[in-house]
């Protein structure tokens, strides 16, 4: 009986003040649309940045006369270093096959295999690539600055400047995306809360009268919060519908025709739907409940 009454109250006030309710609904719709587009974009950007960073590694070239025993020893030494996630071994034969496949004639001319055995050392975190590099090349803190860690190593690749650039650029991209996400979230909350506040302000005299008749704060607040839930859920649902239509009409055909573009891993659509619905409903309901506090002080 109580819940039915509150529901009826909420519906009545939405009917009687349709314009403010519609404004709140439109605000939720627009912000949720922007969020719904923005979240996958941010994720795609972060994914791209991560995959670039994933390619950062240290290449260790062995002497051309290194034996299998040397390779095994160096492999263990490399694995023992801090911040090393894995070590990938490419034998000179494998390297020759790879390279000659790209430029067959040139390698035929050479006659013999000039390539050394190679280790690709992948750090646990791209940011640690320089530390790993200096450990291997002997300028790090651990080895006392005395040259390479093993005599059978010929050189350690020195692509410091490239690596540093990659790290800086991807860092910048990730941070920018994070800041934009936070700003957008704040803007959405403020926008929705403000619209609700305006529609409540229009009805503050009504709240005052309710208080004078002897209504408790919760008795007044609950219908407003139900109204917030309805408006928020309706706005978010509409936004989801628009997003879904766009996805089916525009994105899906694109994805199947343009398989060249590797689709970056983004949030699943169903998860996105749940996130948007929850966010729209919650912000709207809480916004109504909290904004009302001001007007309840009679």
């Amino acid at each position: 009986m109580k819940l039915g009454f509150f529901l009826k109250e909420a519906l009545r006030s939405m009917r009687r003040s349709a314009a403010p309710s519609f404004a709140a609904l439109a605000t939720v719709l627009v912000t949720m649309l922007v969020l719904g587009v923005f979240i996958p974009i941010v994720q795609a950007t972060n994914g791209a940045a991560d995959s670039v960073r994933g390619r950062v590694e240290v290449d260790v070239y062995m002497n051309t006369n290194a034996t299998a025993a040397d390779d095994a020893r160096v492999r263990n030494e490399l694995l023992g270093l801090p911040h090393v996630r894995s070590v990938q071994f490419v034998s000179k034969q494998q390297a020759y096959q790879q390279q000659s496949a790209q430029n067959e004639q040139a390698y035929e001319l050479l006659g013999s295999n000039p390539l050394p055995d190679t280790f690709h050392v992948i750090p646990d975190n791209p940011a640690n690539v320089l530390a790993v590099h200096s450990e291997i090349s002997g300028s790090g803190s651990g080895s006392g600055g005395g040259g390479l860690i093993d005599s059978s190593i010929q050189t350690v690749s020195n692509k410091q400047s490239d690596t540093q650039k990659i790290l800086e650029v991807t860092n910048l991209v990730t941070i920018t995306a994070a800041v934009l996400t936070v700003l957008l979230a704040i803007a959405s909350i403020l926008l929705i809360a403000n619209t609700i506040r305006l529609s409540l302000y229009a009805r503050r005299r009504e709240v005052e009268v309710m208080k004078l008749v002897g209504a408790t704060d919760w008795f007044i607040r609950v219908p407003f919060m139900i109204e917030g839930v309805i408006v928020g859920a309706a706005g978010a649902l509409l936004a989801v519908a628009v997003l879904g239509a766009t996805k089916i009409a525009l994105l899906d055909p694109l994805a199947s025709n343009w398989t060249l573009i590797a689709a970056p891993r983004t949030i699943g659509f169903s998860v996105l739907v749940i996130v948007l619905l929850a966010a729209g409903t919650l912000v709207s309901a809480l916004g109504s409940g909290l904004s009302l506090r001001r007007f309840l002080r009679v």
């Binding site: 003040s17 009504e206 008749v213």
Partner: protein, 294 residues
């Protein structure tokens, strides 16, 4: 905790009113005959309203009330007069605990308003009916729903609402306006809705702040007649007004405020006379040149 004790005596009077009302509706005779006998003021019992040296100083520095002391007994009909700014509205707002006094003690039905906690104010207010100059109706509700809201607030059941609301609307003469919205009503009708809302719970105390301030003299008489009828069911009525002519004709107890102090407290001779509302209305409509005409 103060409220639990406060609610008890009030609940008792309310049930008395209810039996009285039922008897009235059982006999569909003339309005005058249907009325219950007036409850005489009981001077010995705890006063319904008791101001003891109450002061109210606003944060702006203005003095609302200055050491005001008076008391009103159960069943009384009292006018509170004075020019604007004399403190009438301050008295009303203190009584519904919209404001708190800055000095003195204020008791309603024997219980100190200062002891009522903030979250209990809503329950306290249900024991008081309030009528305002600007009616303060809910614009998004029909007449019926406006009155029903006062019952819904107290957790009244649907059955209770169906029983009581048409009853009180008949008493206030609004039976034909049930489904109108406030903006479709005249001022007098709106004020009657607000009185119906204030009285539907049968509160032991009814406050009216300038109830006729926005109304023409003829309508004002109707409103006063309605308040008098409510008073005759045993409800204590306190009316703030600056309508001097009305006060003179009514001949009830008059409290006059000036600059926050009580400057007059007198009851005129006819005060205790048992007078039906019909006689009352006839007397009220007579020209003021014959004050002793009944």
């Amino acid at each position: 905790m103060g409220l639990g004790r406060l609610a008890q005596p009030m609940a008792r009077t309310e049930s008395q009113h209810r039996t009285r009302r039922r008897r009235e509706s059982a006999a569909p005779a003339l309005p005058a005959a249907r009325e219950a006998r007036p409850v005489a003021a009981v001077p010995g019992a705890a006063p319904v309203i008791d101001f003891r040296g109450v002061s109210k100083r606003y944060p702006s520095g203005d003095i609302g009330l200055d050491q005001v002391t008076f008391s009103i007994d159960r069943g009384e009909f009292v006018f509170l007069v004075g020019s604007t700014g004399s403190g009438k509205s301050t008295v009303m707002r203190l009584l519904i605990k919209e404001l708190d006094p800055t000095g003195g003690t204020l008791r309603v039905a024997g219980h100190d308003l200062g002891q009522i906690k903030r979250n209990r104010i809503a329950y306290y207010r249900r024991n008081i009916g309030v009528v305002f100059q600007d009616f303060k109706l809910l614009p998004s509700r029909t007449v019926y729903d406006n009155v029903a809201y006062a019952l819904q607030v107290t957790g009244g059941t649907r059955r209770e609402i169906r029983d009581k609301v048409p009853d009180i609307l008949r008493l206030t003469g609004l039976s034909l306006k049930l489904h109108n919205y406030p903006d479709q009503l005249s001022g007098g009708e709106q004020q009657r809705v607000s009185i119906a809302r204030a009285f539907v719970n049968h509160p032991p105390l009814l406050l009216a702040d300038e109830p006729t301030g926005n109304l023409d003299p003829e309508t004002s008489v109707d409103i006063m007649r309605l308040l008098y009828r409510i008073n005759r069911t045993g409800t204590t009525v306190l009316v703030a007004t600056h309508d001097q002519a009305m006060v003179d004709k009514m001949r009830r107890r008059v409290l006059e405020l000036s600059e926050g102090r009580i400057v007059r407290d007198e009851a005129t001779g006819l005060y205790t006379r048992d007078e039906t509302t019909r006689e009352f209305a006839r007397r009220m409509r007579q020209p003021p040149t014959r004050p002793d005409g009944v």
